[in-house]
Symmetry: C2
Subunit: 135 residues, 2 copies
């Protein structure tokens, strides 16, 4: 495993275990982009990405990582959890930049009903966040 | 990379390149299960799994694999393609059995509209297949 990826994963898992989401921002590149489960269009920028990520992580109950793969700066993490009693399984696909921060994150989740329920909750919270930013 | 995984991937990619889907059946364990993108409930058994897999692969236009991770008998493959002009990105998460065949396959796809469109086409073809099996 590349040293950067090992160091990143140690910090990433610690943050998730402690649910210390503020610290997560330090692990995101300024120009990070996220490909979220519902949309093809990517979200970009550290503030928006951080808020989306925190919202997803706080919405999925019993979020836990399972299988893990690393290939250089490319990381694949399997997770499981529930949203409103619906089981879900997903993958975080992460590309690290040269500083060992997340440059690109793609999130894929199955099944369909869990993605739709997650989207419902998350988009409501994201709209509130965006309205607040504008105000 | 485990010898089994390397041998499996060489055959898997050759089958995809040649679009020789009949051969794919040899790479599936008799008791293979598939976690498809739309449903939580897994499909099991080689005939059903093979038919579902072929139907998905034939429905996604320009299906190509991109990033690839291997950890022992656990494999993660990123793919991209289109369904009815909708871009999609997905992951095949594969567990090999001791004979180097697929024991478990989980498929996750984003975005939502592509999964819904794919489901529409695939479920129609799967129902036709199941009706034929029964007849």
């Amino acid at each position: 495993m590349a040293a950067d990826a090992a160091a990143f994963l140690a910090r990433w898992h610690r943050i998730l275990a402690d649910r210390d989401f503020d610290l997560m921002k330090e692990l995101l590149a300024d120009d990070v982009t996220i490909g979220a489960p519902p949309h093809w269009q990517r979200l970009s920028g550290v503030d928006l990405a951080h808020h989306l990520l925190c919202t997803i992580l706080q919405t999925i109950e019993g979020f836990t990582y399972h299988r893990e793969w690393v290939s250089g700066a490319e990381i694949a993490l399997e997770f499981k959890g529930k949203v409103r009693d619906l089981d879900l399984q997903g993958m975080d696909i992460i590309t690290l930049d040269d500083d060992g921060r997340v440059l690109r994150l793609d999130v894929m989740i199955r099944p369909l009903n869990a993605v739709m329920t997650l989207q419902e909750v998350v988009s409501e919270r994201m709209l509130a966040f965006l309205a607040e930013q504008k105000a």
